[in-house]
């Protein structure tokens, strides 16, 4: 039975999940939890938070599998990606609120511990900092096109924007990152002046 389920695609497995088939659900979790964890981490930049997001998203799906409507959503992964992204952005906003309240010491301490344990170099730490201050939409566009390797059209559909708007978001995201990295001394000034930013 399990072997038979293993060969099914995600959409067919969701049909089984709707019948409260735990095995089908387990296969979906094993197939995608790491990928969605990475997607979430790129937004929340915190291991524990990213794991919580993936866990909550899957449990929500298990509790209410009728949320998935096969006719409306072409691919399970694109649909579920939206859920994970929305939940990640909620956490990301929460973090920004913590920053606004000036109560960020604990969060930064955890982030610093993470950096140490991962032995990130200065450039990576600077990049993480630059990504943290990017506006939500720009960050999402960058993740979809750069890391998730989605086509512009697919990414634009997920974000509910036009392809042109998505390209503009990507351009501004990269520009923002370059400017931030320049301020932190990781990109040379001359090249920015020469107009090579875009």
């Amino acid at each position: 039975m399990t072997d038979k389920l293993q060969n099914l695609d995600d959409e067919s497995l969701m049909g089984h999940v709707k019948q409260h088939d735990h095995q089908a659900f387990s296969i979906l979790v094993e197939r995608h939890s790491e990928k969605f964890y990475a997607s979430s981490y790129r937004i929340v930049t915190n291991k524990q938070e990213a794991e919580d997001v993936v866990q909550d998203a899957f449990l929500k799906l298990w509790d209410r599998p009728e949320m998935w409507k096969a006719g409306h959503s072409a691919k399970f992964t694109s649909w579920f990606y939206k859920i994970v992204m929305n939940m990640s952005l909620d956490r990301y906003r929460k973090f920004k609120n913590i920053q606004a309240l000036g109560d960020k010491e604990q969060y930064l301490k955890t982030a610093a511990e993470q950096h140490n344990s991962l032995q990130k170099d200065d450039e990576q730490v600077a990049l993480d900092q630059a990504l943290k201050v990017l506006p939500e939409k720009q960050l999402q566009a960058l993740n979809l096109c750069f890391y998730e390797e989605m086509s512009r059209k697919e990414a634009a559909t997920i974000m509910n924007v036009s392809v042109k708007a998505l390209e503009s978001l990507l351009m501004r995201a990269k520009e923002g990152l370059r400017n931030d990295l320049y301020r932190q001394g990781f990109i040379e000034e001359e090249k920015i002046k020469k107009g090579q930013i875009i």
Partner: protein, 100 residues
């Protein structure tokens, strides 16, 4: 190195820590637990609760409207079948003096 390439290179090299090795197992275990809990909740219902559940009206507004319409129909047509219309009107228009 070209600045675009430099930025792309940095983005590619971005380190993502591995998730806990038991993340998938943890999610599956929690889902199984939730399923068992749900089943137990149904099994643990007392007899009275089970009987009460049989009388839950799924669409109370529709049921009320239907009962009202049914009652009115029965009231209007049902009366004329038992008592003749003439009897009914003579009963309603009875004069006090005649009674006396």
């Amino acid at each position: 190195m070209n600045m675009d390439n430099k930025l792309d290179d940095l983005l590619i090299k971005r380190v993502i820590p591995d998730p806990s090795s038991n993340l998938a197992n943890r999610i599956n275990a929690m889902a199984e637990e939730a399923l068992i809990k749900k089943r137990n909740n149904v099994n643990n219902l007392s007899l009275s609760e089970l009987v009460l559940r049989m009388f839950i009206i799924p669409k109370p507004a529709y049921v009320t409207a239907f009962c009202l319409a049914f009652g009115l129909t029965l009231g209007l047509y049902g009366v004329s079948s038992d008592i003749t219309t003439q009897d009914w009107f003579s009963f309603l228009s009875v004069q006090q003096e005649e009674w006396l």
